[in-house]
């Protein structure tokens, strides 16, 4: 029931954001990012339900990615927890990537989750050690335009 209400509120908020975008010639960056964040949150909903649900953090990251470039986000993670990350971009052909590296720069084994739209992807990891990790966000294919992006995360 609560999830349905949340989805309804989310859809309502998105509708508002889209109307705002359509009526403003040069939308503010933060509005675009908020819209993209909503996409990521919508994709996250199934993971936030049920017995083994993840708990979504309010903190999130955003920015702009040029084709072929990557950015790193530093984050402290704790052993025995699982973490799920979602990245969203506006262009459905952009195919964003999100990968996790340990403090030595080694790629961490993860479970990649794909959606039926090419502008979203998610990954789940279970850190083997407590420490700092790096999320590497990038675009898989060469799209013409740089993409605004948003990353959210949850733990359990």
């Amino acid at each position: 029931m609560r999830a349905k209400s949340f989805l309804a509120a989310l859809t309502f908020s998105l509708a508002g954001a889209l109307v705002a975008q359509d009526t403003v010639e040069a939308p503010q960056l933060s509005k675009t990012h908020n819209y993209i964040k909503l996409l990521a949150q919508e994709a996250a909903l199934p993971s936030l339900r049920g017995q083994e649900k993840f708990i979504l953090r309010e903190s999130w990251w955003s920015g702009n990615l040029a084709p072929g470039k990557a950015k790193l986000i530093q984050l402290q993670l704790f052993r025995r927890n699982s973490y799920q990350f979602w990245i969203a971009v506006p262009n459905r052909k952009a195919e964003p990537l999100i990968n996790v590296y340990d403090s030595s720069g080694n790629l961490v084994s993860s479970e990649a989750i794909t959606f039926d739209t090419g502008n979203l992807v998610s990954t789940v990891i279970q850190p083997e050690e407590t420490g700092v990790y790096y999320l590497r966000v990038s675009l898989k294919t060469t799209v013409e335009d740089a993409q605004d992006w948003a990353v959210i995360y949850a733990y359990r």
């Binding site: 859809t11 998105l14 509708a15 889209l18 909503l38 996409l39 919508e42 994709a43 199934p46 708990i55 953090r57 309010e58 903190s59 990251w61 920015g63 470039k69 990557a70 950015k71 790193l72 986000i73 530093q74 984050l75 402290q76 704790f78 052993r79 025995r80 927890n81 459905r92 990537l97 990968n99 590296y101 403090s103 030595s104 720069g105 080694n106 790629l107 084994s109 993860s110 479970e111 990649a112 989750i113 794909t114 959606f115 039926d116 739209t117 979203l120 050690e129 407590t130 420490g131 700092v132 790096y134 590497r136 990038s138 898989k140 733990y155 359990r156």
Partner: protein
């Protein structure tokens, strides 16, 4: 294209394990061409407690403190207190202590008023107080996280970046004090690894040292600086991946002393 229908049509289509084919197996973190996102996110106490609870039930009720809140005109201290109070709210949620969380919800609002962000925080503070009264812990947890994030967002909007750093530092300190205290009372090598946070504390220390002098003037902030320096040497695991019981006790004492100094200064 109907963008609303695009939004509503998202569904999961695949799960693939192990390593991504499209990512380098190793990156050189010293590469000067790497671009780092500057926003640092500090873990909330519940995120750390979730890991510790997987080793067995802990007595979180013992970590709930009832400290008197005194608000003054020192905005740097108020920002740290704000972070501390929110983290104590998380501890209250973990202990499911209705009265302490209700009290902390009211303290959050008092501090938000002093920081000039009461309007943004009021709805969350009321939800915390009411939710705690009804024992709706999931909702209270979410509202505490929203409160913290709302204040940080507002501070950024107001270009009060120094206060953002101090809210984060206060939040981290409160969570670390509770974690170290639980581990001190019920030490296990396995659980001690949660205090292995050398890079995080280095980041916090850097953020603190980069604050303008006016934001960290006075004895309290000298103590903050010294404590961070001390903790940096303690919060590092040994070869076995653990932090010794002696170091856990030291971390507990150092964080407790600093928390009390912030409340009492």
């Amino acid at each position: 294209m109907n963008r609303i229908s695009l939004f509503c049509a998202i569904s999961l289509i695949g799960v693939t394990g192990a390593f991504s084919q499209d990512a380098p197996a190793k990156i050189n973190l010293d590469d000067p061409n790497l671009v780092f996102v500057s926003d640092s996110v500090i873990p909330i106490p519940l995120e750390i407690f979730a890991s510790l609870d997987k080793l067995g039930a802990q007595d979180w009720g013992r970590q709930v403190e009832s400290r008197d809140l005194r608000v003054d005109t020192n905005r740097s201290r108020t920002a740290m207190l704000f972070g501390l109070v929110v983290s104590e709210g998380f501890i209250g949620v973990q202990a499911q202590d209705k009265e302490s969380v209700r009290r902390l919800g009211r303290d959050v609002l008092a501090l938000a008023k002093s920081l000039g962000v009461a309007e943004e925080v009021e709805v969350h503070a009321n939800a915390i107080v009411n939710g705690a009264g009804r024992g709706e812990w999931e909702m209270v947890r979410s509202e505490l996280d929203k409160t913290r994030q709302t204040v940080i967002n507002k501070m950024k909007e107001l270009r009060d970046d120094e206060l953002v750093a101090l809210v984060s530092l206060g939040g981290w300190l409160g969570g670390t004090e509770a974690l170290a205290s639980v581990l001190r009372d019920n030490y296990s090598e396995e659980g001690s690894d949660l205090l292995n946070q050398p890079d995080l504390i280095k980041q916090l220390k850097t953020d603190f040292n980069e604050l303008p002098q006016r934001a960290r003037r006075g004895n309290l902030f000298t103590q903050v600086s010294m404590t961070l320096e001390h903790l940096e040497s303690l919060m590092r695991s040994d070869e076995s991946g653990a932090i010794s019981e002696g170091k856990v006790i030291e971390i507990s004492l150092a964080t407790r002393n600093l928390v009390e100094a912030i409340y009492e200064s």
